[in-house]
Structure formats: C-alpha cells, structure tokens
C-alpha cells in the first residue's frame, strides 16, 4: 500500500475516532462538593472533586498544613517540605470523590468514593487506614448522626451503617439513584430520589413513613423551614410539602429545578432553574409569585444563596450574579476567567474569629482545574482562588 493511501486511511480513521470521541467530551461524573468542617477545633473548607479531597484555610484558600499533634510543629515530607491536607485518590486505589468528607473523631475522617468504597482516613497524617467496600457508588454527601452513617447511593437506595463497626443496619431500596444529601428531621430521614419520589423513613429501622410522588426526578435536598419542606423536581415544578408528605402547594418553573432553595427572614423562598431563571416565592402565601427573572444565558444548577439584601446565583454560563432580593434586579455579574461551567453548590462563610475572616465570603466551585474554588467578597470582588 502506498504512503498516500495509508495516509488517507489514517485520516479517515482519525475522523471517525474524533467524531466518536465528541461523545466522550463530557465523561465526568459530577461537580465539586464544598462544605465547612470542624477538625480539632479549627474550621476548614472541605473540597472534594475527582481525584482529591482537600482541606483549605478559609482566609486565603491555601491547603491546610499538617501539624504534629504533640508539639504543634508542621509535618514535613521526605524533601523537608511542609505537608498539606490533600487526600489523593490516585495514591489510594484510584478513588474519585464528589461527596463531602465526614470527621468522626479528632483523628478520623470518613470519605465515600465513586468506586463503591468508604474510606477511613487518618486525618492527622492524611493516610488511608481502611477501605470498606459498599454496595454502590456515592455521588452525594452522606449524613452522620448519633453514631449512624446514612449513605445515599448513586444507582439507588439509602444505606445506614454503624459508625463504630461500619456494619449495615438497614437499607431502603429505591428504583433510581439518590443524588442529594439526606436530611434529618426529628426521627425521620428525608431524601429525594430520581424515581420521582421524596421519601421519609424511620431513622431507626428504615421503615418508609411516606413517599410523595412529585411527578419528576428529584435531585436536591429539600429546604426545611417553618415545618415545611421545599423542593423542586425535573417536571418543572416546585413544591411545598408538609412533614407528613402532603403536597400543600406548587409552582411551575421554566425548567428543571436541581438546587436546594434558600429562604430569607421575611419568608420568601428563592429558587433557580436550568433555563437560567430565578424565582422568588412567598412561602407564607402558598408559593405566590413575588418575582421571576431570566438572569443567565444558561441554566442554573445550584441553589441560590441569600446574602443580606441580595440573592446570589452561579450559572453554567460561567458567571456569578448578584440580584436585589426584593425585585430581582441585577446588581452585579462577575465572570469567572475562561467561563467554566459553575455547577457545584455554593457556600457562604459568615465572618468569624474561628474562620479568621472579617467579611462574608461566597465560595463558588467550577470544574476548571486551575480554579476549582473561587472566593468572592459580598461586593463581587474576587478574594482568592484555589488552586493558584
């Protein structure tokens, strides 16, 4: 076969490979998860995404240093460099992380991975102590309460495990996956499922107390306020549900509602949908509309945050928007460099001495490897970025 012919064949194959590879363009599993955790009396930002779980210092976004528990001196690696609190999946059996870690005591952290494992990690030296096989992958954060760990499984079911021996206490099957952190309300565990239901189960034995059919997949943790649950679904509706599972009122949105809503002190609930709309509803008047605005060019996956008189949302268009909470007017819009999709939940840090910050910080996650976590001041000014 002549060279030119070989080249033509190679080109054709390359075209085929490229076209089929287009499909694989979005092969990621989920977006970063961010939260605040207390470790040995210090509060840290916990960021879990893909290969790493990192603990960061709120004031500057730098990875927390590992300290010798005896003398308080920094722990150093073989080259003499100070060690940081980063747990890498690549060094520990190829774990992938999208859920928040859970500290269970001063020396132990529990991390669920997307490879069907619960990892018990020594949080002082950040080393894997034990990998406990579980039945399914985990993509949403777990809940720990009173010595029990409640694990939502990506492909369906909620499992309860004892924190001392990690043996399964009970398991509730669901037809589809659970992609949101369960919520503890009195003696009930409330969780949504993609099988269109919001479930309440007895925390002691997993017996189903009620299951509300919301007509579409539910992928967010409900907001609990005034003894009511507020949650949206993929059938473009937002619901107000009583604590015994009765739908009290609903509101029609423009697209799927995926994020957990926010509520202000006046009883107004704020939610966003995947068409880029933000809605403000009166929770005390059967979800009556206060205002609804299309804010972003693309969808808003994460729930809004209420900061003083503003509502903040982050969109797939790579921008963060600050709105007037009374009328929805756009106050400020900030574009993240390179405009990566902003899909992960946001986190608001209030000023405190423990956090060592003197102004509110708004944390936004992206899937850009160079800016996984961006901290904004209340006025929209970017404070720091992780990693640098």
């Amino acid at each position: 076969m002549k060279t030119s012919q070989t080249l033509r064949l190679a080109l054709l194959l390359l075209c085929l490979f490229s076209l089929t590879a287009c499909v694989g363009g979005r092969m990621g599993v989920s977006w970063p998860s961010v939260g605040l955790i207390d470790l040995n009396g210090e509060q840290h930002i916990a960021l879990a995404y893909n290969n790493d779980v990192a603990l960061l210092t709120p004031s500057n976004g730098l990875p927390a240093r590992l300290l010798n528990p005896v003398n308080g001196q920094p722990l150093r690696d073989n080259d003499g460099n100070p060690r940081s609190w980063i747990f890498r999946g690549s060094d520990n059996g190829g774990g992938q992380f999208y859920a928040q870690p859970i500290p269970i005591d001063s020396e132990t952290m529990l991390i669920a991975d997307n490879n069907k494992r619960l990892l018990r990690v020594d949080s002082v030296v950040v080393e894997l102590v034990r990998a406990i096989p579980i039945e399914d992958k985990v993509v949403a954060s777990m809940l720990a309460a009173d010595g029990v760990l409640y694990v939502p499984f990506q492909d369906g079911g909620l499992g309860a495990y004892s924190l001392d021996g990690f043996h399964e206490l009970w398991r509730v099957p669901t037809e589809e996956g659970i992609w949101a952190k369960p919520l503890l309300v009195d003696d009930s565990i409330i969780f949504p499922s993609l099988d269109h239901h919001l479930y309440a189960v007895d925390r002691k034995n997993g017996a189903i107390q009620w299951a509300a059919d919301l007509g579409g997949a539910v992928a967010s943790t409900p907001l609990l306020a005034n003894d009511r649950l507020y949650v949206g679904s993929f059938n473009k509706r937002f619901f107000e549900i009583s604590l015994d599972g009765v739908i009290l009122s609903s509101y029609e949105t423009q697209n799927w509602v995926w994020g957990t809503p926010a509520i202000d002190e006046d009883g107004f609930v704020y939610l966003a949908d995947l068409s880029g709309y933000v809605h403000a509803l009166d929770a005390e008047a059967g979800l009556a509309l206060r205002w609804s605005q299309q804010i972003a060019e693309r969808g808003i996956r994460a729930g809004p945050l209420v900061v003083d008189d503003r509502v903040v949302v982050a969109s797939r268009d790579g921008k963060v928007y600050w709105l007037d909470r009374y009328d929805g007017a756009l106050i400020n819009a900030r574009e993240v460099d390179d405009r990566p999709e902003l899909l992960g939940d946001m986190l608001l840090l209030e000023p405190s001495e423990t956090l060592d910050i003197d102004e509110p910080l708004l944390l936004v996650t992206s899937m850009h490897d160079g800016r996984l976590l961006i901290a904004f001041g209340i006025d929209g000014r970017q404070t720091w970025v992780y990693p640098r």
């Binding site: 076969m1 002549k2 012919q5 054709l12 089929t20 499909v23 599993v29 995947l274």
Partner: protein, 299 residues
C-alpha cells in the same frame, strides 16, 4: 450548531420511549430504523454514484495507459469521460457527508438520553424540545433481553460498558464486529467493488476508482475491528444501536430490501444498466449488456 441536529434526536428518542411503553431498547431500534429509512435516498444516490464509477473503470484504465506520460492530458480525458457519462467522481461523497452527521447525531442522542451521572444528566435539561417529556427522566437503563429468564440472562445496565455488565454482555461487541463486517461485505458486493489482485499500487494511486476499491477493502477489515473495540468500552445501549444500524444496513443492501425501498421512494432500480458514453477520441468497446445480435436481413 451541533445541537440543531442532536436535540431533535434526543427529543424524538424520549418521545418514542414514552410512546413505546417506556421501553428504551425498542425506542432505540425504532428511531434507528426511521433514520436509516429516511436517509435511504441519500444512501441510494451514494451507491449509484459508486456503481457508475465502477462501470467506468475499464475506460479509465485505458486512458491511463494511453496517457501514461502526460498527466495533464490524462486528467482532461478523464474529466471528459466523467462529463459525458454524467458522473461526478466525488458525487458519492456528498450524500455520505450529509448522512454522517445524522448518524453521529443519532448515536450521540442515545448517549445523552441514557445519562447516568449528574454531569451527563444536567445536559439533558437543555435538549428536550417537547414539553411533558421531562417527567420521563431518567429514562429506563435496565434491560432484560428475556424477562422470563433473568436467572440465566441477568438484567443489563444500558449505561455501562459490556465489561461492567454480566459476562454474556460481551457477546454484544462480537455481534457489532460480525454485523459491521457483514454490512461492509454487502456494500462491496452491491457496488461491484472487488479486491482485484491485478490492481497494483501505482494504479490504485492514480486511479480514483481503484483508490476507492482499495480503501473499501481496507475498511472492511478495519471498521469491524474498530467498532467492536469501541463497543467494549462504550455503553451497552450504543452497542444495541450499532447492531440495529448494521442489520438495517444489511437489509438495505439486500436485493429484496432495496426493491421495497425503491418502491417507497420511487428510486431507480438497482439493476438498471448504466450506459457508458465514451470520450470522442476513444474507440467504443462492445457494450455487453446492450449488444444485440444483428438479425440477417431477409432478402
């Protein structure tokens, strides 16, 4: 731009899923059949063009021999031959270029509709164009080939690769490989492209028809292996699409299938003879199909 092709496919697939009792495998099969039937006129045009090119091969060879020392004249004579026979040497490419994005769009639609992770599912929210389909999400991803025999043939997860499913799922990449090979073979036989050992490399390189034949020959070997390999790592749902698509292709290439489709679309019969017109300065060879023995005149 790509969404203009992809989103209607995703929507139709979701609609079919709804209409077909929420059976995603049936929806994939029906959508593949619909698309393959609708793209039949393009496909037939491409085949017709290949066949005409093939029929001109003897004349092209003669031109190559005649003008082997004058490439410019050879090129002019070739163009004249094409013009007089109303054949576009790259005519077969245009229908293929239109078909290709459609088939890739269909394949991607299956991938997006079977979203199994949050990252994949968030995309789907912008792709459903008909209201009311949102309540179907997520589409069913578990499938039993024979629901009565789930002990023997456990349920497959359509979003996972065959290697992550029960072992019998590994038969799917093999099926993809076999059906792709069979379809390729049928393509060659229907367009009259045969691998001739007489065609040496030089000839292939300067003769477009020879190149096409050589290319087709190589693709017959490479494509089945490549698609079989893809199917090992892609989801089972996509393997089902590949197999369905290949089987439909085989029906389209079969004489019976072609006759039915030609009746529906009013196309030209497959066996319609191609009348070759020869360039002015070329001696007209005997036309075997058209030649009739002269009856002796009665005196």
């Amino acid at each position: 731009m790509w969404d203009l092709i992809l989103n209607p496919f995703v929507t139709i697939l979701a609609w079919l899923y709804s209409a077909l009792n929420q059976d995603i495998v049936l929806a994939i099969i029906v959508l593949t059949v619909i698309i393959r039937v609708l793209t039949w006129p393009l496909f037939a045009k491409q085949q017709e063009s290949s066949r005409r090119m093939q029929q001109l091969q003897p004349q092209l060879k003669k031109l190559q021999e005649k003008y082997k020392n004058d490439k410019e004249k050879m090129s002019q004579a070739q163009m004249k031959l094409y013009r007089e026979n109303k054949v576009n040497p790259v005519g077969g490419c245009f229908p293929m270029l239109i078909q290709f994005p459609i088939l890739i769009g269909l394949y991607q639609a299956i991938f997006f509709a079977l979203a199994a992770t949050p990252f994949q599912l968030v995309d789907l929210s912008e792709r459903l164009l008909i209201p009311g389909l949102d309540s179907l999400i997520p589409l069913q991803r578990l499938w039993s080939p024979i629901p009565q025999l789930t002990d023997l043939l456990p349920t497959l997860d359509l979003t996972l690769a065959p290697t992550e499913n029960p072992p019998y799922a590994l038969a799917l990449p093999l099926l993809v490989l076999i059906t792709t090979w069979a379809q390729q073979k049928l393509t060659m036989s229907m367009t009259g492209q045969k691998s001739s050992k007489k065609d040496d490399d030089d000839e292939e390189d300067s003769n477009p028809g020879g190149q096409a034949a050589a290319m087709t020959k190589s693709m017959t070997t490479i494509m089945p292996i490549m698609f079989g390999f893809f199917s090992l790592s892609f989801s089972v749902g996509l393997s089902l699409y590949f197999v369905t698509s290949n089987l439909i292709g085989m029906v389209q290439y079969s004489p019976q299938g072609r006759r039915v489709l030609e009746r529906v679309f009013g196309g030209k019969g497959d066996e319609a003879p191609v009348e070759v017109v020869f360039a002015d300065d070329e001696p007209s060879p005997k036309k075997p199909r058209r030649s009739k023995k002269k009856k002796p005149r009665k005196k």
